[in-house]
Amino acid sequence: VTRLASPIVWAWTAMILVGLAAPYLVYPVFAMNVLCLALFASAFNLLLGYTGLLSFGHAAFLGSAAYVTGYTLKAWGLPTELGVLAGTAVATLLGWLFGALAIRRSGIYFAMITLGFAQLVYFVIVQMPWTGGEDGLQGIPRGKALGLVPLDRPIAMYYFVFLAFLGGFFVVHRAIHSPFGQVLRAIRENEPRALSLGYDVDRYKLLAFVLSAALSGLAGSLKAVVLQFASLSDVHWHRSGEVVLMTLLGGMGTVMGPSVGALLVIALENYLANMGSWVTVITGAVFVVTVLAFRRGIVGEIRAIVKRSFIGVKP
């Protein structure tokens, strides 16, 4: 019996091939930006898509990590890897702190609480003396990978980011396709039932939250190294809304959806970059249309069509 390889294997292969070729096809900084935000959205999807928790404050993790990485590289001269690690660690810690408080309420309150905490982080970063206030941190050195390969070369930088992205994406993938991920889905579908089956629901939620925050932090750290600056827009609530849009547009609860969404949203923003506030208007309109017309998102709709046609072939 010949058996087609699972769609997941196909998707991974396609993703790696596209990823390897990308810097020769498009502007490398654009590709790196997409990778960072795709990782961010995938981490976010772990919460929204698989646990059913809508965090409206994920910019706090992305942004704080970007600032910490930027500062440790610039002011302390840490090696690039350590700087990225430091940013990720701070985001993880923040995730644990905010997560432990936010999971005490559920549903819509959870969204409001995370939004509030993110605003707290925003104000703290605005006021801290080392963050550069309105100007942000600029001129962050990229350094060398493993102390050998200078990352100022775009190609080297790209593959550094791509490797880190694959690592982070793999963690998300493993988390989803594990008993842990199954429990998360059970919580999403029916929390009281998961509780009555004996699962420590709060612990699972917290673990998912911390994992998501840590990977968002990794994305933020990488972004700071790539773009060589950290700015207030990374901690602003617009950024938190943007990652919701990426996930929703691509398809929440799908492995590839958030990355597809990130690619589309970043491409859209780049394309409209000199149209001023129309970017915000169009982003909002995309939001409205997605919520009203296709809530499964692009990948989710494709999956539904594929499933339907397969069922049509053999009942």
């Binding site: 809508l54 309420r105 509030g116 605003q119 104000f123 915000t280 409205v288």
Partner: protein, 288 residues
């Protein structure tokens, strides 16, 4: 010393009045429609802009604006409910939040494109200019007016919801809309009117705020995040609870501004964290 403290307390009380008005509207909408109206801040901003535009383009003054801007925005709200929100009932309530978030981006983007970043000032109406010297502090008349009117409007809403037949329908709809409909009440119409009323209330707050703060396209979004925190602290279960919480947090902010100004922008969120630790359901909330 006391001058400064009372000055900050007054500012706190004014901020608190707006927190109370806005969280009240949010609570009414959420109670019946099960929608968290993220656009509440944008609607407040549009109320303020409506007043400013009426003044600059049509020469319509404050008093008419106080009536017309909420009415116009209420109609916008009715249209939004009829055309958009209605399609999401019965789904997970996060979609309502996301839809209204999208609407917020559209509204803010449009106003930002048209009016830029800078603020526009709206003159205090002639009748309410000047102030009274109370001995321990100087009280500008308009500010006193804002506090008194906000408390009056909040109390009126509380009275209508808790003590009248109309309010009884509203509360019944909050508990069980299907049953209420079975008794012959036009529940879909009630949903529309309630959303329109909530939006009008936000716009009313916006007009009230226009002479106090600068009218800017982004005036609503920073406010609404604080109001969400207020809602988390108070819990949306009780009308009087959200009014009291709003005013109290405004005062807390005022005191903080006096004692340790750097923390004034974050104190509400810190209070939120403490409340989550001590009373996760919120001060006036019920555990679901």
């Amino acid at each position: 010393m006391t001058q400064a403290l009372f000055g900050q307390l007054l500012i706190g009380l004014i901020n608190g009045s707006f927190y109370a008005l806005l969280s009240l509207g949010l609570a009414i909408i959420f109670g019946l429609l099960n929608v968290v109206n993220f656009a509440h801040g944008a609607q407040y901003m549009m109320g303020a802009f409506a007043a400013w535009m009426a003044m600059s383009y049509l020469g319509i003054g404050y008093w008419w604006a106080l009536l017309l801007a909420p009415a116009a925005m209420g109609l916008v709200g009715v249209a939004v409910e009829r055309l958009l929100l209605r399609r999401l009932y019965g789904l997970d309530n996060l979609y309502g939040l996301l839809l209204t978030f999208g609407l917020t981006l559209i509204a803010e983007g449009l106003f930002h494109q048209a009016y830029g970043n800078s603020g526009y000032s709206y003159p205090v109406p002639e009748l309410l200019r000047g102030g009274v010297n109370l001995g321990f502090m100087y009280l500008p008349l308009y500010r006193a007016w804002v506090v008194v009117v906000s408390i009056f409007v909040c109390t009126l809403c509380w009275y209508v919801i808790e003590q009248t037949k109309l309010g009884a329908y509203l509360r019944a709809g909050t508990e069980n809309p299907k049953l209420l409909q079975a008794f012959g009440v036009n529940v879909p119409l009630m949903f529309t009117v309630t959303y329109g009323f909530g939006v009008a209330l936000a716009a009313f707050a916006g007009v009230m705020a226009a002479p106090v703060y600068q009218v800017t396209p982004l005036m609503g979004s920073s406010l609404i995040i604080v109001v969400f925190a207020v809602v988390v602290i108070g819990g949306m279960g009780s009308i009087s609870g959200s009014i009291v919480t709003g005013l109290a947090l405004g005062l807390v902010e005022g005191v903080t501004k006096f004692v340790y100004p750097e923390a004034s922008s974050v104190v509400v969120f810190v209070v939120m964290a403490i409340v989550l630790l001590v009373r996760p359901a919120g001060l006036f909330g019920r555990e679901q």
